[in-house]
């Protein structure tokens, strides 16, 4: 009987996904959205319907932060916990919110009304602090707005009836260049393609020297060519819109306002490599963009820019599915993303082989960044040479930067490659800047002496996050926030990252709690080396970057945490007796342990 309840909502979902086990993550995500969590009977039903072992389904559900196998609140409130949210007061707001609703962070309220927790950066750093309520983003939290939300929840007003203003996510485009100036007309790049042929378009992409905008900077033309030349039963195009790097939000804007240009770039790629199917892998935090993107796709189908016989070409069939992530930063890594697309846990694969030969369903697959596809459309339209003439010799074109933190005008800034960090700071109205974190938590942290460095693959390669910290900020706390981010997002596959990121977070907490000594400092440095040299993927390699950079450049922030000359425990010994004191009612001197300063 119980399973009938679940069959009722699962059947339409299963039908929509053709009972395809590769769509397990999408099915689970929708099940969670409908029912509030993945009920054990739902798991059993899916296991039977998809012919998948229950343990496999549970393993997938257990991997993604936004999926849960036990009841959540009717209202699931997640405060974005990026350092930029914290700088805008998110910690106090969450404390206030929890107090107003008598709920403890990390738990479900006793009446089941709501649950409150934190989540990794939601990509609203330019308009934070932000939260997700039942996966829908709310920006610009203030004590007033948070109070109003608490009231709406207490009165059980459905989220759909909340003031639209709460959900008014702004694009915040501050500086436009070739990509953002909005000249692109849908269909024009495809028309150019059909006019000159896909071989010529590939050549234009190669001539343009376009490099991947996810940060690694692999040549887009080469990637398309390798993929086209790879043998397979089918080829696939994947657009990586899982921008989880803290501080990045350009894809949010590109997909909100320039989706046509992105989809057109994917379609160009499809034609070049011979793909019939493409995926937009959209991070779960951008769930609110889904309806809009579906409309754009539908429009493109009705304009014959997608679907069968695109623009009347009998051999040109291509369509795009949108897959949503469910709260896993590691899925931004292309092989983990493909695993996720296949409905699995988002564990990065062993490479080689690379996705261009063995990607989605083990077939040749191009995975490109949102911005890369948008640029490809422009190149098809205006030519490779034109594009190559912009930027620097090895970094052609423009780069969109997501600027947030301590500056007057946060938002998107598009510059030709080669722009200096100092120029960006001047344009965004940053004053008294102490540090700039580029490329998010895994990127690099610059001190003022380096502000003359350039945004370019030959100097500072970046997916575009640029977080500004003024002199009032504590760079140790910045690094600590990032280290916790990595511990939370580690997929757990390899030993060094699974255990090491948590050890690192604990060590940083130890310093923060006043238990630091030079011993811990040396330990952190040793751990950093180990993570960098033995981790399975970039997440583990990068997990130490924020610490290494801030140690090197902002050492006083650490020095003041090395309070003790000699090793002291990571925990407070006196506090370790608290439970025993409470149980015995004792408070005599023997019931306490003094701090261990006097010990060596």
């Amino acid at each position: 009987m119980a399973s009938q309840i679940h069959a009722a909502y699962l059947d339409p979902i299963l039908t929509r996904y053709q009972h395809n086990p590769h769509h397990l993550l999408q099915i689970l995500r929708e099940a969670q959205e409908y029912f509030g969590y993945i009920h054990t009977d739902a798991m059993g039903y899916l296991s039977q319907q998809l012919s998948l072992p229950r343990a496999k389904i549970a393993g997938v559900a257990g991997f993604y932060s936004f999926l849960s196998d036990r009841p959540q609140g009717e209202y699931r409130v997640l405060f974005s916990d990026n350092i930029t949210d914290r700088m805008l007061g998110s910690v106090d707001l969450m404390t206030q919110f929890c107090a107003q609703l008598w709920v403890e962070a990390g738990k479900v309220s006793e009446d089941g009304l709501l649950s409150v927790a934190t989540t990794s950066c939601t990509g609203l750093c330019d308009q934070g602090p932000a939260m997700l309520v039942n996966n829908i983003a709310i920006n610009r939290l203030t004590p007033e707005r948070t109070t109003a939300i608490a009231e709406l929840i207490r009165e059980r007003v459905p989220v759909s009836a909340w003031p639209a203003l709460f959900f008014a996510i702004e694009d915040n485009i501050q500086r436009k260049d070739i990509l953002l100036n909005g000249e692109f007309q849908s269909g024009t790049a495809l028309a150019a393609l059909l006019q000159c042929g896909d071989e010529a378009i590939l050549r234009e992409i190669q001539v343009s020297k376009l490099r991947g905008r996810g940060g690694a900077g692999f040549s887009t033309g080469k990637k398309w060519e390798f993929c086209r030349d790879a043998q397979g039963d089918a080829h696939y195009v994947v657009c990586n819109a899982d921008e989880g790097e803290p501080g990045t939000f350009k894809d949010r804007v590109l997909l909100n306002r320039y989706a046509d240009q992105v989809f057109e770039g994917m379609t160009l790629c499809a034609r070049v490599i011979g793909a019939k199917l493409g995926f937009l892998y959209l991070r779960g935090e951008y769930r609110y963009l889904l309806a809009h993107l579906q409309v754009v796709l539908q429009q493109r189908r009705s304009q014959n820019l997608l679907g069968k016989s695109i623009l009347g070409q009998a051999d040109f069939d291509f369509d795009i599915d949108i897959h949503l992530g469910a709260g896993a930063y590691v899925c931004g890594e292309e092989s983990a993303l493909i695993e996720s697309l296949e409905g699995k846990r988002g564990t990065p694969r062993n490479r080689p082989p690379f996705p261009v030969t063995n990607g989605y369903l083990n077939q040749p697959t191009v995975v490109n960044n949102v911005e890369t596809f948008a640029a490809a459309s422009l190149i098809a339209l205006k030519g490779g040479e034109w594009y190559a003439s912009i930027g620097t010799a090895v970094s052609s074109g423009t780069k969109i930067l997501s600027v947030s933190g301590d500056c007057a005008r946060p938002g998107l800034y598009e510059y030709p490659f080669g722009v200096t960090v100092g120029q960006v700071l001047a344009d965004c109205g940053a004053q008294d800047t102490q540090a700039v974190q580029i490329s998010g938590a895994s990127g690099i942290c610059l001190a003022p002496a380096e502000f003359n460095r350039q945004i370019a693959f030959e100097d500072i390669p970046t997916a575009g996050a640029l977080m500004v910290f003024d002199q009032s900020r504590d760079m140790f706390e910045v690094a600590r926030n990032f280290v916790h981010f990595f511990a939370h997002e580690s997929c757990g596959f390899c030993t060094p990252c699974r255990v090491g990121t948590s050890l690192l977070a604990n060590m940083m907490d130890k310093l923060a709690q006043g238990h630091g000594s030079p011993y811990d400092f040396a330990e952190i440095e040793k751990l950093n080396t180990l993570l960098q040299s033995t981790s399975h993927c970039g997440l583990g390699h990068a997990a130490c970057n924020p610490v290494l950079d801030t140690i090197a450049k902002f050492r006083p922030a650490y020095q003041k945490r090395l309070i003790h000359h000699e090793f002291v425990p990571a925990f407070d010994l006196d506090h370790a007796l608290l439970q025993a004191r409470q149980m015995t009612g004792r408070d005599d001197s023997g019931a306490h342990l003094e701090r261990s300063d006097e010990s060596r």
């Binding site: 180990l530 000699e566 425990p569 025993a580 409470q582 004792r586 023997g590 342990l593 006097e598």
Partner: protein, 201 residues
């Protein structure tokens, strides 16, 4: 990056060498058992007749062997057992403050051992179960005499609370392993346990 010792053991603290100079100055050694079972001390006695050789080289300070109650300045401190209560912490601190070299002897000192098997339960649950809820208890109460050391909320191996120089794992470590480490240290060598001497059970 600084020149770090990676994950190698900490560098040897220099000990005064036996037989240096004209007079033979004996090294001072202290031993204790914290949250342990004295099994490691029993194993220590398993070095048998080599004890006679040892006492030519060392003099025992605080130890169950001497019944000296507090530790004075020593060259080597040997700790059996982990930290289960406040008194364990006091004794460990006394040893750390007085001993040039501190050795964790046996599983409990090294990783918490058997006592640490309680760590997945809250102390409150344990005390409730033992003194209130257990079948057959009438008017049970949790002892609160100030003479009694209060238990810590978790059992800790000693390296989580003080810096430890050397570790001899085993439950217990064999007399041979203990002898090997001590003689290595007395000879100024980095202690090393080969196959068969290093074991965790």
């Amino acid at each position: 990056m600084s020149e770090l010792d990676k994950f190698a053991p900490s560098p040897l603290t220099p000990l005064p060498q036996v037989g240096e100079g004209n007079e033979v100055k004996k090294l001072k050694v202290a031993t204790t058992s914290l949250a342990g079972c004295f099994g490691c001390h029993m194993s220590f006695l398993d070095i048998d007749e080599r004890l006679l050789e040892l006492v030519k080289l060392v003099e025992f300070d605080r130890s169950p062997l001497t019944d000296i109650k507090h530790c004075g300045p020593c060259d080597i401190g040997i700790i059996e057992g982990g930290l289960c209560n406040a008194e364990n912490v006091h004794v460990l601190r006394e040893f750390r403050a007085n001993c040039k070299i501190l050795i964790a002897l046996g599983a409990c000192a090294v990783n918490g051992g058997l006592p640490a098997q309680r760590n997945h339960l809250s102390l409150a649950t344990i005390l409730e179960e033992v003194y209130h809820a257990q079948h057959g208890l009438v008017d049970g109460f949790i002892p609160n005499d100030p003479e009694l050391p209060l238990p810590l909320d978790r059992v800790h191996p000693i390296h989580e609370v003080v810096k430890v120089d050397y570790f001899i794992p085993g439950c217990p470590p064999s007399g041979d392993a203990i002898w090997k480490v001590l003689t290595d240290l007395l000879a100024g060598r980095e202690p090393e346990l080969g196959h068969g001497l290093i074991h965790y059970d």
